[in-house]
């Protein structure tokens, strides 16, 4: 999908790099460990392509957090982890003084808070850099199979031909744990117009 020019695409990658970098800093404070992140891989793809990418790239069962956002860019963001590894993150965040049962009990709330922090850092950095504002909703933790993911992301409810998926994939690496995490932002084409305008205004000042 060639909605964005090469310069605009580069700018989005740079802004997401900045946002994810800040999110990584936040995550490192939460887990008290060094967090290494790969360079984000950014793709703008259609709904069918997104469904195919999820099937191909993601593990069969996921633990994640959904957060709706609205403003110069509107849609739904998701932070996704392999379900089997999510308890490691929870354990790292809330410490070892809790029992395994307690950690399991707190998993959903912990993931929601983690998603709140990571997704907000990405979206807020994007908004700040582009001198725009975005309002984020309350995060919701969920567990699903990869086949149910499009439904969780509201993709099936939208017109597939009128929805653009901005998929950002990043790899996490902690000192004591290695797991793959994904960030996905689903935006509609109407919001992509104001996103595009903000990018062009930013570039006009820069170039």
């Amino acid at each position: 999908m060639d909605l964005f020019s090469p310069d605009e695409h580069d700018l989005i990658v740079e802004l997401m790099n900045l946002g994810v970098g800040r999110a990584a800093h936040a995550l490192s404070q939460l887990v008290n460990d060094e967090v290494l992140l790969s360079v984000p891989r950014l793709e703008f793809i259609s709904v069918p392509e997104a469904q195919e990418a999820f099937r191909k790239d993601l593990p069969p069962f996921l633990a994640g957090v959904l957060q709706d956002f609205e403003g110069f860019i509107s849609g739904r963001a998701a932070l996704l982890f392999p379900e089997a590894r999510s308890l490691e993150l929870v354990n790292a965040m809330i410490g070892e003084e809790l029992s395994a049962d307690e950690i399991t009990e707190l998993e959903q709330e912990t993931l929601a808070e983690l998603g709140n922090i990571l997704l907000n850092h990405c979206l807020a950095t994007l908004a700040n850099q582009l001198k725009q504002q975005v309002k984020t909703d309350i995060p919701r933790a969920f567990n699903s199979s990869v086949s149910e993911l499009p439904c969780n992301l509201n993709l099936s409810a939208n017109d597939p031909n009128n929805t653009l998926v901005m998929l950002v994939q990043i790899d996490f690496s902690l000192r004591h744990s290695a797991l793959r995490g994904y960030l996905a932002f689903v935006i509609d084409l109407q919001s992509a117009d104001s996103f595009l305008l903000a990018l062009r205004e930013y570039l006009a000042e820069l170039l």
Partner: protein
């Protein structure tokens, strides 16, 4: 304020995990603190109607009224309470709105040092 008088700190966040994380950090400050908790703006008002608080650490994005709406009420009714907005929403515009209300703005997760620096202004 003397060392023997604990500071009463109200933590307002809809996330139990966020409150738990903040409590761990505050306890590591080795200060005499009495921690109060609320999971919403409404709950915070209920707590404040019966308990004295010196400081309030308030999340922004909560079900019902947000942190700034709560802060406006606290400013009016309890002007002695020092407040910080502790939020992952690090947008400049939001930080400015918080400062306009006289609040400190602490990006979430706030570090122990950041929390300590804010709280010690009152000690």
């Amino acid at each position: 304020m003397t060392d023997s008088t604990p500071l009463n700190i109200l933590l307002v966040d809809d996330s139990r995990i966020a409150r738990l994380t903040m409590k761990h950090m505050l306890q590591s400050l080795e200060m005499s603190l009495n921690l109060l908790e609320a999971g919403s703006a409404d709950e915070a008002e209920t707590v404040l109607s019966t308990e004295h608080a010196d400081i309030a650490l308030i999340d922004f994005n909560m079900p019902g009224r947000d942190g700034l709406e709560l802060a406006a009420v606290i400013t009016e009714r309890y002007p002695h309470i020092r407040m910080a907005l502790v939020t992952a929403n690090i947008q400049d515009a939001l930080a400015q709105r918080a400062r306009d209300l006289g609040m400190e703005f602490l990006p979430k997760p706030a570090s122990v040092e950041q929390l300590g620096a804010f709280i010690r202004q009152d000690t």
